[in-house]
Amino acid sequence: MTYQWDFGPILQYWSLFRIGLEYTLGFTLASAIIGMAAGLLLTLARRSGWKILSIPAGAVVEIFRCTPALVQLVWCYYALPVVLGLSLSPATAALLALSLYGAAFYSEIFRAGLDSIDRGQWDAAAALGMTPITMMRRIIMPQALRRMTGPLVSQVVLQLKNTSLISVVTVPDLVYQGQMVSSATYKPLEVYTTIAIIYFLILFPMTQGARLLERRRHG
């Protein structure tokens, strides 16, 4: 018995896939931006030298690094509203979980990047009379960002793949839409093949780009 592949019926639902793709890309972009901003704040808090900031920030990073994204997502959707006493829409819970999960990893990338800058750079900038903010902005960050680009792109790639989890809380991303199409056409093999191809077409150029950046840095 051989399976007869037939993508015809699936293409009829192309608009559903398009909506799913928009959600996937939108959530990736939003959670990457919020995650990087939050990750930067976490890193600065951890390095501030004030225990009242550094200890909680360190705890947040470790909690989100050491629990699965799927568990965080489900927890944000079902348990967090109980804790806070307010209801969160699936999209809000999903964005919150993905952003914080990303923030923990972005924070680690920022920390490693800053630690890689030679101590003499901080000394020289301080000796000129730069305030800590100016030093970060003008001297340290421009150097650290160059080193962090590759790892940051890799993390965004992971972040995009992680958005597939939000289908669990009924956000209509690519996977969720695929499930809809699948139940309408009874063609799950074709549906998941299509989804896999779409993910690959987006991510392959990104990973290649990251590799190029890495190579240029070492070259």
């Binding site: 003499g120 000394d123 301080a126 000796a127 000129l128 009379g129 730069m130 305030t131 003008r138 150097q143």
Partner: protein
């Protein structure tokens, strides 16, 4: 003899790293326009003392004065805000053993970095300060070069220009020639000598004993966080009073001036 006004005044300065006393109640003054050479074995605390003058290391107690700006530390002194520490540092230029040029900026931008990012000058104004300094250091043809392409001696000349661009009241040299090839040492020492002749107050941590003897007004010999001996340069180097100074100086061969 009238006492010259002090440009740098260090009073009862102490610093510890963990349980180790690195500086024990150090007091010394540098009159305006004088050069003070700090010598001593490694681990004697001379570099830490230099880094305390511009607060790269915050002293645990005592005070540091540059011109008429005093920073007090320890019991009874209020905690200093990072921005007031930064403003204090801006009055002292510092040159490091490892150059520490900013690798993402060109030579010209390195020299402009103080005026632009600390003084808030425009690009044009900063360039008008930086270009003559590069010329003075013989580096004007390297203005658009990235630091990684320079030799050690060239890097150090740019680093000196970068420090001077802040129009500092004093210059601090932390083993500025120790990472250089022997033939480059002389070129940096001659730049430092020119600065001294132009009246720049300096504290120089150095292993170049002939430079200390010939250019410095005062030589201070440190060991174990103490000042062991201090006096006129020629006397301390050629005829030290203390046995420890004599033992230390035996390791150096000096050409006669």
């Amino acid at each position: 003899m009238a006492r010259e006004p002090l440009m740098i005044d260090i009073v009862n300065l102490s610093k510890r790293f963990g349980r180790r006393d690195v500086l024990k109640d150090i007091s010394l003054g540098v009159p305006q326009g004088n050069v003070l050479a700090l010598i001593g074995p490694s681990g004697s605390g001379k570099s830490t003392l230099l880094r305390c003058v511009n607060l790269l290391e915050a002293p645990d107690s005592g005070s540091v004065t540059i011109d008429n700006h005093t920073m007090r530390f320890g019991a009874g002194a209020s905690r200093h805000r990072t921005n007031s520490m930064a403003a204090f540092r801006a009055e002292a230029g510092m040159v490091f053993q490892s150059f520490n040029l900013f690798p993402h900026l060109t030579v010209l931008e390195n020299v402009m970095s103080g005026p632009r990012f600390v003084r808030g000058r425009s690009r044009d104004e900063a360039e008008r300060i930086a270009r003559p300094l590069l010329e003075r250091m013989g580096m004007e043809s390297f203005a658009d070069t990235m630091p990684e392409r320079l030799s050690g001696g060239q890097k150090q000349r740019v680093a000196i220009a970068r420090a001077l661009a802040m129009e500092p009241k004093v210059m601090l040299f932390d083993e500025a020639t120790s990472a250089l090839d022997p033939q480059r040492v002389a070129e940096i020492l001659s730049v430092m000598r020119d600065l001294a002749q132009a009246g720049m107050t300096q504290i120089v941590v150095t292993h170049e004993m002939s430079y200390a003897r010939d250019v410095a007004d005062t030589v201070v010999f440190m060991a174990d966080g103490h000042i062991v001996e201090s006096g006129p340069a020629r006397q301390v180097i050629e005829d030290p009073r203390e046995e420890r100074t004599r033992t230390f100086l035996k390791h150096f061969h000096m050409g006669k001036a």
